[in-house]
């Protein structure tokens, strides 16, 4: 699967060391990994294995203690907050475990958030969000507040928000953790389809085995280091 193109995200011996009240935790220990555009990758491992931290490092949400991180061959390790914000806006999408929709915005408004920030005009935003909602099966819920949506619906809106601006890389942390099996299957279907249709790179951190089964590449982490890396 090697391609001549740039890696969607790659790291070079990144470490992330947390210090809390004098206790040092090495959450990520010298991980070197390269994820190509269009991959559908699952980071798996038990709690505390460093999945979320690695995902945060990929997304520039956390800065590495050592090592470097590149997104689309741009070194983000020392990027300013401003550059990072811009990069996240244009290249990245996030799906969180607890949906994390903005409670004060409607489903539509949540989904179009990045487009708004990118300055896309209203008509275009409407069009793209509607199409997307249609695609992922939540059409008609545009005007509902998150509080009026089920968990599965909320997470779909979250996915829509993550992919609506067609980012190169979507990072998702336990997106199915709060969903029943039907909802999570449906959500996974959506994401697989998006991966296939748009070529969006997905990186998941999860210990949901169903999600692992769907992965095209499964990276297992143990104690902050890569224990195995399989492509299917």
């Amino acid at each position: 699967m090697t391609t001549p193109t740039n890696a969607a995200v790659r790291t070079d011996t990144v470490w992330k060391i947390f210090e809390h009240d004098g206790i040092t935790v090495e959450a990520v220990r010298g991980v070197t990994v390269r994820i190509e555009p269009g991959e559908f990758v699952v980071l798996a491992g038990p709690s505390g294995s460093g999945k979320t931290t690695l995902l945060n490092l990929f997304g520039g949400l956390t800065r590495p203690s050592r090592g470097r991180v590149w997104i689309d061959e741009q070194d983000i390790t020392d990027m300013s907050e401003r550059q990072l914000a811009r990069l996240r806006l244009e290249r990245l999408g996030f799906v969180f475990q607890a949906y994390n929709l903005l409670p004060v915005l409607t489903a539509l408004e949540n989904a179009e958030f990045s487009l708004l920030l990118q300055g896309v005009d209203e008509e275009e935003r409407q069009r793209r969000v509607s199409a997307l909602f249609e695609k992922i099966g939540i059409a008609g819920l545009e005007d509902r507040r998150p509080g009026k949506l089920s968990g599965g619906q909320q997470q779909r809106v979250a996915v829509a928000r993550a992919v609506v601006s067609e980012p190169a890389l979507v990072l998702a942390d336990e997106p199915t953790a709060n969903l029943d099996s039907a909802s999570s299957d449906a959500l996974l279907d959506v994401m697989v389809r998006l991966n296939a249709d748009l070529g969006t790179t997905f990186v998941f951190a999860t210990h949901d085995t169903r999600l692992m089964e769907r992965a095209k590449r499964l990276i297992r982490l143990v104690d902050g280091a890569i224990a195995s890396d399989h492509r299917r």
């Binding site: 979320t52 903005l102 004060v104 336990e174």
Partner: protein, 422 residues
Amino acid sequence: MQRLRLIVRLALRNVRRQARRSALTAAAMVVGLALLVMSRSLADGAHDEWIEAGVRLGSGHLAFQAPEFRARHAIEEHLSAADRAAVEAALADTVIAPHLKAVAPRLEITALASAAAAAVPVTVVGVDPAREPAFSEMDQRIVEGRYLEPHDHLQGFVGVELAQRLRLRLGDRLVLTAAGPDGAITDQLVRVVGTFRTAIPEVDQSLIHIPLATAQAWLGVDSGVTTIAVLLDASWNADRFTRRLQEALAPHADRIAVLSWRAASPELDAAVRMDDYGDYVFHGILFIIIALAIVNTVLMSVLYRTREFGVVRALGLRKRDTALLVLTEGLILTGISGLVGVLLGLAVTWGFFHDGFDLTAFMGDQMTAAGAVIDPVFIPQFRVVQLIQSAVSVAIVGLVASLYPAWRATRIDMAEAMKFEA
């Protein structure tokens, strides 16, 4: 631009979503601001009353005198008919004229008052009975008898303590002895037509009002006066009008001096300014408390929503944007409660106190301060400038109080967004 609109929209929605908390913060600010408006309008009212009480018994908000009169207090330092005409012309100024409440010409002299019982030094003021009541309101301080009337000639309106000391009753005769401009001592008879009490001992012991024409004839100064005292509609106009009149009368500066009440009653000026300072301190404290309430609420709402801030940051908002979001929320809250607070303050002040805020319980019927008798019932004064000041101050307080929470919001770890439980 779109980003800004988004932020404003988010802020608006946030304020609305946290209705209860917003309401509480707003309530704190509304109450604070209402109190501020109330306290300021009452303080302004009290001050204006204080100043007015002082200047009514003194030489007005502004006064025209011969330049040396204030220092020498001698009758030869009087304004001639020509000077008076110049003053009248200056007061006809279109800017000033609408603000004139009363203009009182006066001839003031120290004299000896003798009655059968005794003789004491007094201050005699020749006044225009038609114009003076609107000015010094002596007609409202009558103990017995009446005030001077336009056709009075030999009537005298006498301080009650002076009358007691000279054992005078209504109708009794009183001989005033003083030196005219030429130094010759002359006598004038007046009869007590009324007695008054201002509650200022020095005044009640030594002041006599007599008709201006009588005083002028007695002292031989034709239509001369020592002072033309002017009462304005509001004391805060005094300074700028004084400057304007000084400019207008500059050609006559060697004969006519224009004094504002600040110059004429420096004690009153200092006392009022001191009291103002006390009010500033008090209002400052109110503001700080309001600010603390805002900091508290806004900061709480920031800390409460760490995950939310993490999310919007992960979605591409810059630190600056999140700070702006918090500031906007603070401003919206401040703006709304500011408006409500000012209105409430006005309403309450108007509703409860337009007849006056009664401090009689603390002060007794009246008290004297810096040469003025203060009625302990304060009539609130509303001033647009003052309201704008209050509102702007509150907006600034709101903004400043939101700074720390805003800064805190930028410090939020985006990884928080990834965690399930905040």
